[in-house]
């Protein structure tokens, strides 16, 4: 009864919102203040931020520069060491490590992957990137481990740590670089600090999670064995949580690497990320592909090696004897000595001769040009079709998009009437059928498509999001969403936020729909699932930056390229969660449905999808998070919006602009995150 009343109240709220929106739009010429947030109301937050930062830099600058100088010393050693080491030695040691953790296959893969870097002549750049990772991962691991442990033991620490980690992970990656750049000055140390900061959260989370998940009986057994508190921690809890902690190290490493690559946009590091970026900017796609492959291979090797360690089962028998226990160390030492000696006689083991390098960039460029010319029409029509029929209507509305030039006809008044009538009829019919929510959705979408997201009055957009937040999570969430959007308005980045929302929104909707369909197929078909899995793995381990390359190559700069890049990154969680959710349904339920005479289609729609709903919602949540993360990186290929503002702030050293845009993105990410999580909790009881 109460639920019914609540529902009715919500319906009226929606109708009122739609009505008001239409009223404002009808009188939009005289209601400027509602259409575009007046400049006079915008707070000079950018200046405040800059002024504040100036003070901080003036007060603490010498301290941070000292830290920076101190850190650059060991940094220099590691760089020097990796540069000095004969390539043959580095490759052999990495291959040996791969063999030790996994076996022949991975050792071979590692050897080939690293040899590729030598072969095409990117060895020094690769080693520079690697030295940043080698330096930042141990620090991030140690820091993360201790913070995670503190959060495990103290509820108060957890209350601070957990939201801080949330924020660190939702702030767009570029925004990290800005304050660090200002505080620590230019140089590789910026990349180092940024990657430590970015890589700590997964370690913290996994440490806390691992410690929490230790079997309570194991803890009791430790207590009964008479373990003192420190024995309890180091000999019972940590070893029992080790697998999760190792998983944390794996994720930390991938995060650190991804940040190292992104940090190279500030330049001056001569690393592999810079190589990709600079060649891409010069439209030397052959070169950027070759360098991009290096990044992809490095990511894969790092991931495979650490993931293998994390998932490895304890061996069959505990090893015994000096040789059995230390054989890999003994071999490593032997190998080092042997190769160091050999490289004195055969200098090519130390420095790979340039004459032996293979650098097929020109060939790739020729081939690419050929493909682009040959399929120019197809490429162009794909791009224009999606622009005219999907992207522009959402962005600027049919009102602006439909013209003889784009759609082949003009939007006459009678067509407008027809559109409105059709939408009204459809919504009315759905309402009449009792599907009120769908009717409201149709009405809302009709308005959105006609006027466009960026041309809707700002109070309406706010109203829609606040109402959604209210439905999902009650008053508190609605209030939070409202305050977040008020911030966007007051600091004057609302238009950019809408541009981001439009691009990200389309990408998320498409990723989620496509990903769910693929996930359903994968859950039904083993072969398909087996094919899909390595592709997903690769897309997910890749630093997102690399994903831009192929799309920029074919479609050049612009929104459409960004859209495709975002989809290619954000689709992975949608697929994963859908497959996982659909596979993890108890087989008994499916059997019961079959026994009741349900067809395959009915089982899918009426049993499996509803039961998988919480997982699907989590997938949507992750899709949104991935989409927003990628949106910032897509700013590199020339999108408008918050991501671009962060990037501009970074390249101009304008802390205020960059930081405000960064906070704006974090706000959007957090609102989206809380809302989807609240919905996910809401559909949970239905699945039980």
């Amino acid at each position: 009864m109460k639920l019914g009343q609540e529902g009715a109240r919500q319906h009226w709220a929606w109708i009122a919102l739609i009505g008001l929106t239409l009223a404002v739009l009808g009188a939009r010429d005289s209601l400027d203040a509602l259409m575009v947030f007046p400049d006079a109301w915008v707070l000079p937050m950018t200046d405040w931020f800059n002024a504040g930062m100036d003070v901080v830099v003036a007060q603490t600058g010498s301290f941070f520069r000292g830290v920076s100088a101190a850190m650059s010393v060991p940094m220099g050693w590691i760089r020097g060491l990796l540069q000095w080491m004969p390539w043959a030695l580095t490759i052999s040691l990495l291959a040996l490590a791969s063999f030790a953790v996994s076996g022949w296959k991975l050792a071979l893969f590692t050897a080939l992957a690293t040899f590729y870097m030598v072969l095409i002549g990117y060895w020094p750049e690769s080693m520079n990137s690697l030295s940043l990772v080698v330096m930042s991962v141990p620090m991030a691991v140690v820091i993360g481990f201790f913070i995670g442990t503190a959060a495990y033991y103290s509820a108060r620490a957890d209350h601070i740590v957990s939201p801080t980690m949330d924020v660190l992970q939702t702030i767009p990656v570029f925004a990290y670089l800005l304050p660090i750049l200002l505080l620590f000055g230019f140089g590789p140390v910026v990349g180092l600090i940024a990657s430590i900061l970015y890589a700590v959260p997964p370690m913290v989370r996994n440490t806390t999670l691992g410690l929490r998940r230790v079997d309570p009986e194991v803890i009791e057994a430790g207590m009964m064995a008479g373990a003192s508190p420190s024995q309890m921690f180091w000999r019972v809890r940590v070893p029992s949580a080790l697998q999760q902690i190792l998983l944390g190290i794996n994720q930390t490493m991938m995060a650190a690497f991804s940040m190292v690559i992104i940090a190279s946009i500030i330049g001056g590091t001569a690393d592999i990320g810079w190589e990709v970026l600079s060649t891409m900017r010069k439209a030397e796609f052959g070169e950027s592909i070759l360098a991009g492959i290096v990044i992809a291979l490095m990511a894969m090797v790092m991931d495979r090696m650490t993931a293998r360690v994390a998932t490895a089962q304890t061996p069959g028998d505990a090893p015994e004897g000096l040789w059995a226990r230390y054989r890999y160390w003994i071999i490593a030492v032997g190998m080092t000595l042997a190769i160091l000696l050999l490289s004195r006689t055969f200098p090519f083991l130390q420095r790979y001769p340039e004459a032996w390098e293979v650098y097929p960039a020109q060939m790739l460029n020729n081939w690419l040009t050929f493909v682009l010319v040959e399929y120019a029409d197809t490429i162009k029509s794909i791009k224009t079709l999606s622009l005219f029929y999907i992207m522009l209507p959402v962005k600027m509305g049919l009102e602006q998009t439909v013209s003889p030039f784009s759609w082949g006809f003009a939007l006459t008044p009678s067509l407008k009437m027809g559109y409105a009538g059709l939408a009204l009829a459809l919504a009315g019919w759905l309402w009449f059928c009792g599907r009120i929510n769908v009717a409201l959705l149709v009405a809302g979408l009709a308005i959105l498509f006609y006027f466009g997201l960026t041309r809707l009055p700002w109070p309406s957009v706010m109203g829609v999001l606040i109402l959604l937040a209210w439905q999902a999570g009650g008053m508190r969430l609605a209030l939070g969403a409202g305050l977040g959007m008020a911030f966007l308005l007051l600091v004057g980045v609302w238009p950019q936020a809408m541009l981001s929302l439009y691009l990200c929104g389309i990408a998320v909707v498409l990723s989620f729909m496509l990903g769910t369909v693929l996930g359903i197929l994968a859950s039904e078909n083993e072969t398909f699932s087996a094919v899909l899995r390595p592709i997903n793995d690769t897309l997910q381990t890749m630093p997102p930056f690399v994903l831009l390359i192929p799309f920029v190559m074919i479609f050049k700069l612009g929104d459409f390229t960004a859209l495709l890049a975002i989809i290619s990154y954000a689709i992975v969680p949608a697929i994963r969660y859908a497959e996982h959710g659909l596979r993890n349904i108890s087989p008994e339920v499916i059997e019961a449905a079959k026994a009741s005479g349900a067809t395959r289609w009915q089982i899918l729609w009426r049993v499996r999808l509803p039961l998988a709903a919480p997982q699907l919602m989590l997938g949507l949540n992750q899709t949104i998070m991935y989409g927003i993360a990628m949106l910032v990186i897509a700013a590199l290929v020339g999108t408008n919006g918050l991501g671009q503002r962060v990037y501009i702030g970074l390249s101009n050293g304008d802390f205020g602009t960059g930081m405000i845009a960064g906070i704006g993105m974090a706000i959007i990410a957090m609102i989206a995150d809380r809302m989807t999580q609240a919905y996910s909790r809401k559909v949970q009881p239905a699945a039980r």
């Binding site: 009791e220 207590m223 064995a225 008479g226 070893p239 029992s240 304890t314 069959g316």
Partner: protein, 364 residues
Amino acid sequence: MTKSHPGAADGSDIRLSCRNIWKVYGKNPERYFSKDEDVADPATLVRRIRDDGAIPAAADVSFDLRVGEIFVIMGLSGSGKSTVVRCLSRLVEPTHGRITLNGDDLLAKSAKEMIKIRRHKIGMVFQNFGLMPHLSVYDNVAFPLSLQGESKADIRAQVDNVIDLVGLRGREKSYPHQLSGGQQQRVGIARSLAVDPDLWLLDEPFSALDPLIRRQMQDEFLRIQNDLQKSIVFITHDFLEALRVADRMMIMRGGQVVQTGTPAELITNPVNDYVAEFTNDVPLARVLTAAEVADAKGQRDDGLKRVAAETPVETLLPMLAEHPDGLIAESDGAPLGLVTAQSVIAALARHSGQSADTIGQAGT
């Protein structure tokens, strides 16, 4: 079924004494108790605690464990038996009450002293084994010893000893995940015995095992106990298991003690319907002994074969077939009465009739 155990019942042979133990979960549970006074009316207090929305997980639990005795605490899930056994080693801190081990007040010990006591005096076996997944069988068993920093040779001697005792020789290098449930619990048993404890706590040790393995492990357990003569608190939810291993047992419900006594006392003399319902399914022939089916007024012909008082009816029946005139039940040489087919049937009828009555009462 009075198994013999050493020592007399005069308090000097009490290993563990547990007096009026309470464990209350809720907001500041101490307010229900005053420090030195015992609770006058436990039943009323339990109701008050529940009304406040707190949970009395253990309420006024008292028992004594004699040296060399197997004391079983039996109850269904949520009856408080696991809470009680954890109070005994202070894995769970009792809210109120007294516990003494070898006459020593356990609740007065500091955390450091408690660690010492756990290292040397108490061993515990867990329902899901509680093995360290990252340690081999040998290292798991050696774990309590290695925490004390004993020398490797000492550890090896003690570990070898208990590994032989539980029959794990040859599996020392395996890891827990490579073992079956029964084998894993052998590791758990070996680990708990490695320090040669005075008090041995077993928390549903066989409940996670298959019925056949469970039976086998119970036999093993009794064999080990026959050798070691430990003082044991054994937790189970399985009434038949309790009957098999118990010298004495205590039935719990809702945190409170329902009845304490020997298995035979519980069966022949249940205090209420709750206890009686457990005894319904019990195969009487296995529980009733010669003493209980003997007819004391029967004619005592000294020519008849003599049987020990604790012989179960199960064993008597084939003997009766061979000696149709009857048998004499005796205790320490003194005859107790005449056992005939007639007296056995009468006793069985008496006991099952009683059960049938209690069912009838429960239905109304």
